[in-house]
Symmetry: C2
Subunit: 325 residues, 2 copies
Amino acid sequence: PTEAVDLLDDIVATLALDLKVQVVMIAGNHDSGKRLAFGSRFFDRSRLHVCSAVVPGTVRLADEWGPVDFMLLPYADTETVRLELNAENPTDADATIRRRRDAWMPPGAGGNRTVALAHAFLAGGQPSESERPLSVGGTGAVATGNFEGFQYAAMGHLHRPQLIDGGRLAYSGSLMKYSFDEAGQDKGFYFVDMDGAGTLRQEFLPLRPRRDVRVVTGRFQDLMAGAAGGSPDDYLSFVLLDEAPVIQAIQRLRTLYPKTMEISYRYQQEALALAPAQRPDRSSRSALELFESFAEWSTQKPLTPSQREIMTKLLTDAVGDGGGE
Amino acid sequence: PTEAVDLLDDIVATLALDLKVQVVMIAGNHDSGKRLAFGSRFFDRSRLHVCSAVVPGTVRLADEWGPVDFMLLPYADTETVRLELNAENPTDADATIRRRRDAWMPPGAGGNRTVALAHAFLAGGQPSESERPLSVGGTGAVATGNFEGFQYAAMGHLHRPQLIDGGRLAYSGSLMKYSFDEAGQDKGFYFVDMDGAGTLRQEFLPLRPRRDVRVVTGRFQDLMAGAAGGSPDDYLSFVLLDEAPVIQAIQRLRTLYPKTMEISYRYQQEALALAPAQRPDRSSRSALELFESFAEWSTQKPLTPSQREIMTKLLTDAVGDGGGE
């Protein structure tokens, strides 16, 4: 969306131009790499370093201890890698990353510290529901060994913040929660400080969004009494503990919690988890019996004799019609 | 296509960074304005001025005679203008442009010369077939009066290069031919020199593409003997002067002219131009007569008696079957 493009434009301009901070970034699998790299020669002159190429980009920055070299390894699909590097059909994601890393040209002598920025699914990493698979077929996972020799690797792709190999490889994760599967994750980013020996000090700085994404479990009546906690403006998924469906539950919940996204029932989840043979058998009950129990549940009253008479007649007529449409 | 993005990136970087030329550009209706403007704060610092906003952008450049102010008026759809300028439903393209021009803030005093860059269909301009309409309904045309007071207006949208109001308003036109309708146009751009009094010297510099787009008229046999002229690698539309269809004409022409895009027959164009009552009436001829004339045209020989006998039998059988499938 154009609002996201505007926001990114604003953030990188504020960082690189106003605050004069060096910014190094790579394209992910949701970005149009070529578009993101448009103007990168202009950006380079003003502390913004963007890479979306198959052959990893190189940036040399410096601190009080000397130069630090960055390898920029953005997302690239296997077919593009095959074409650009003349690789004979890289067999999997790991071979593809290895091929690209080997094509990297470090910026020359003098640097003892190197940092990788890479978009990849590291073997051993914990995925979430909302990540788009990086490859069709196969796991798409790459070995951590590909980042041997780097003092630090700032990884992108997995949405869950996580440290690998004692923190030498780290995913900050997504800045926002992109599915209810991520409701329990703390979102934010790693702030990393490296000294002259390449020793890291790492701190996770949480980000608190305006609207949280939460899964809330409870009985309908309690939730309607305000038991959901947090902000009523959060994005909510309700798991209802009631033993039967509640009439118009989602519409009624939305009067209190306008951003209710979905509801489900614990008893249904449990029923679905049962093997078919364990599920209650309703096939032995007549149509009239099933209707009576539904009507009683809906109205909280049993059918009157005249109501039962009408229903009996209707059902007989329907069967008399052959049950067709 | 990403190749076009790469090419534009390369051209603006060469102009602004390598040749240190000031570049001023606006988004057209085929561009994603927001994407084109991404990073514009970075570009501005390096002589590249891009605008894709509803409120016209401003750039002040200077030459030996003092400042020259540019108004950058890119394409914007009516709905976006309505939302951003709180305009009460601009009724047409002209009102929309006027509203935007009035919102322009010139960069301050001191400038006696102003130049407009605008994407619009000027009333009186000559359109081509391949331009995408700028508005749904209406002509989309805007009055030249909107650019009153500007020493020069460099216009975009119409593909045909053309001067309006004695050259004070000018379309360079598209750099390439985008339909056979444009085959007869010379493509290129206006090189404009302005002196301290705002007097213009204008020169049209033609661009010669690697492959031309041409409409070639001739008889099939002559064309197959090489009569198409130009480069055989041009994009060609053939108008055949033959009085009857030529078997597999386009496939055979492509053996000589591989980028043959289409063929048509002059006699068919003329027949289509006739009123229905003037067209030859074939309904009075029998199926056998029609087949005989087709066979004679295809083989350059009349049917033999035995061929006619077979065909007569086939046609009788077909009619005997009721003519159905």
